[in-house]
């Protein structure tokens, strides 16, 4: 187990190094200037470039950046002057994490519930109803859903606050809008794998032993049906927890999601780098966690 973890750690660090290197150079290929602006003259630009060390040869910049990165320092943001990238992430991430966790908990519970109900009632009205619900969840873009929710539940019938992220009431709409797509996917995968398992030998065996339906579903089917759902959850969890640009923009949540788009539009090199590495680390950690969970769900799989 320890050897396995060490091996995974080495691979993870290598992957992060490659990711940082590729992103660093790709980013410099993107046309544009981080200091472009109507009132910024060439002289000011040159001074800003010198201030941030952007006037040095690219390869030197790379080594300086990597040295600081190794110590966990993402550097200063080019767009939000005077703020370090670490600071911006530290301020914004809790909002995205909070929103993302709420959305995930809701999405997973409801998704599993719908998937199981629909599989157990295959071909009946309840199944069709769930399938339609899932398809609607997948078929509506999040900015449409967010916009419609906001219009009806905050403007037309003012039940919930329009935007911002302050109290529990503020979290309901963005969390729901964020969760719908994940919920639909979880339900879809859960239904498919429940159906596949219904004909498995160990389920037949359990029936032959005389177990009642509830015991079969709880003890045998659920546990095994969770696999395909777990597989898709790694990237999904990383994506949802690091914030959504669309949802955060619509509901004015001061989270991390907006920075992914804004930093790219501003060509804020250090911010883009910081976010990419942050997200990459999150993704790798999630995939590792899922592999460990595999072992817990299925005792046949030994980590090696």
């Amino acid at each position: 187990m320890l050897r396995y973890i060490i091996r995974r750690l080495i691979i993870a660090v290598t992957a992060m190094f490659v990711l940082a290197t590729i992103t660093f150079f790709l980013l410099r290929l993107v046309p544009g200037d981080p200091f472009a602006g109507p009132r910024i003259t060439e002289v000011i630009k040159a001074r800003l470039r010198a201030h941030y060390g952007l006037d040095q040869p690219l390869i030197d910049q790379y080594f300086i950046y990597m040295k600081h990165l190794a110590m966990g320092d993402f550097g200063y943001s080019l767009a939000k002057q005077g703020h370090s990238v670490n600071e911006i992430i530290r301020e914004a991430f809790p909002y995205s994490l909070d929103l993302g966790l709420r959305a995930l908990v809701f999405a997973v519970i409801m998704g599993l519930f719908f998937g199981i109900v629909s599989a157990l009632n295959r071909g009946r009205a309840l199944d069709s109803l769930t399938v339609i619900l899932v398809l609607v969840g997948i078929s509506v873009p999040s900015f449409v859903l967010g916009g419609i929710l906001q219009y009806y539940f905050a403007v037309k019938w003012p039940i919930l606050p329009v935007a911002r992220y302050e109290s529990f009431a503020h979290t309901i709409m963005p969390a729901f809008a964020l969760s719908l797509a994940t919920m639909a996917n979880v339900a879809r995968y859960m239904r498919a794998s429940m159906l596949e398992i219904m004909t498995a030998d160990y389920v037949k065996m359990a029936k032959a032993k005389g177990l009642n339906r509830r015991q079969i579903v709880l003890r045998h089917q659920l546990r095994n049906a969770l696999f395909p759902v777990l597989t898709i959850m790694g990237p999904v969890v990383a994506m949802v927890l690091t914030g959504s640009f669309v949802i955060e923009t619509i509901f004015a949540v001061p989270g991390l999601g907006r920075h992914f788009v804004l930093s790219m539009q501003n060509l804020d090199y250090t911010m883009v780098m910081g976010l990419t590495i942050f997200f990459g680390a999150f993704l790798i950690a999630m995939n590792f966690l899922i592999d460990v969970l595999y072992g817990l769900v299925d005792p046949r799989i030994r980590l090696s």
Partner: protein, 308 residues
Amino acid sequence: MTDAAEPIPPELFVPDPGQPVQSLSTAEPQEFWADVWRRFRGNRAAMASLSVLILLALLAIFAPILSHYSIAQTDLFNTYKRPSFVHFFGTDGLGRDVWTQVWMGARISLTVGLTAALIQMLIGVVIGCISGLYGGRVDMFLMRTVDIMIAIPFLIWVSLVVIVLKPGIVSIILAFALTQWTEIARLVRGEVLKLQNTEFVIASQSMGAGSWRLIVRHFFPNILPVVIVAVTFQITNAIFGEAFLSYIGLGIQEPLTSWGKLVAAGVREMRGNPYMLIFPAIAISLTMLALQLIGDGLRDATDPKLRQ
């Protein structure tokens, strides 16, 4: 048994006439597709979805040609007209006909979705097969590449592809095609790994089947259901992705339009002129719905486990 010593004359050893030499297989490929089509036809939801999709495609092709208006034609005396017989879907803030815009947008959105998903499928299946079949270092290298590609922000890729090419539909398709194949590659790899240990593949190998035969005869039909579902997902993703790019202003540029762009504009106008959101949103949602149902239908129709 006693007169077993009596030699059999060699002229008795003749090949059985009329029997093909290659008789390893049971069903021919033509039969496979005929069977798929027969089973697909039986699925009412999938057939209805196919008709809807064909209807949408026909409208995308012919509606702009038959329309009296063009997408760039503004009419400042007729802004924000409600839907009527003159303007089926009303007009927008510049007096442009929304009906024409929706079907011109359909051309772009459908082209982006289908082309991007097909290229992704090709890349994904090839990489996934190589990774699964060769295993070891090749597999390790390819899968870590996939991990890293997923982590590089999509917007960096888009911005890069846009400088190499000109901004527009081709660069959007390429940005999706070259970065989003990772999902299919992972799925295909998983399936190949699973299949390599099945009895029928081992049996086929022990009967002397080469890797090409294994791929065509055994892997392909078994991977197909998974790939089909993934492809319908990727079409959805590409259409939504284009919509997202339009939402942040990096998508198709004026005067061209796409469903995503129309929906994004519709969300802004929702309060006063809900029709501007409703029509493109219905078009986009209907397409997604049809694609999912067709995907499910095709999966059931191609799954070898469900064959009679």
